[in-house]
Symmetry: C2
Amino acid sequence: MSKEIPQPAFHKDPKGLLPAIAQDWQTNEVLMLAYINQESWNETLQSGKATYWSRSRQELWKKGDTSGNYQIIKEILIDCDCDTIIFKVEQIGDAACHVGYRSCFFREISNNKCEIVSEKIFDPNEVYKKKG
Amino acid sequence: MSKEIPQPAFHKDPKGLLPAIAQDWQTNEVLMLAYINQESWNETLQSGKATYWSRSRQELWKKGDTSGNYQIIKEILIDCDCDTIIFKVEQIGDAACHVGYRSCFFREISNNKCEIVSEKIFDPNEVYKKKG
């Protein structure tokens, strides 16, 4: 069934930001959540690579430009209220998290304890020292 | 490996709200994204059922109280920055979305078209007419 194309409702947020979930397109593992604005959205559609808005740096964040760990867009899903996006991606370099894990969600909280449940792929000191 | 238990950083947001992703604990399908505050978090841990904060109604939202579609907590994951949570859940009633689909992310956007990609489980007019 084909429908009119829904647009993300950036106007709903005072800063024009909506959450975008990056999910592995094959395993459905959630890799990270970051925020997008209209500019990130346009850039993502145009480039075919996940592009976010960095709230800490207040700038367009072309994920992978520093680390090489680009996220190639395979599918885009939008939710019922048009205020959350899923990018189903191929994660280049096998790691999405700046701490070096495959997923930013590498810690499970259960029974008053915390366990590391994701694989450490790289040493962030090695990858990010190139910058600056 | 066991670590000190990280706490969600509700103080990071001016309204004390953080996004929580509900994910099917078996298939990893993302069912919905909603927001939690400290009260929702405490209630979720205590009750074992996903509890959110409704931004539209400005009240504690015990998911399932109206529809019966509770989300039983199976695992909780927290991200590197402690500002996003994943609830891995068993979705009672097979549907998370108030429009009647299994997932709120029932629309895929691709090649300038939009396709319905999730299963419609119930008729919202039937389920929600009970209320009010």
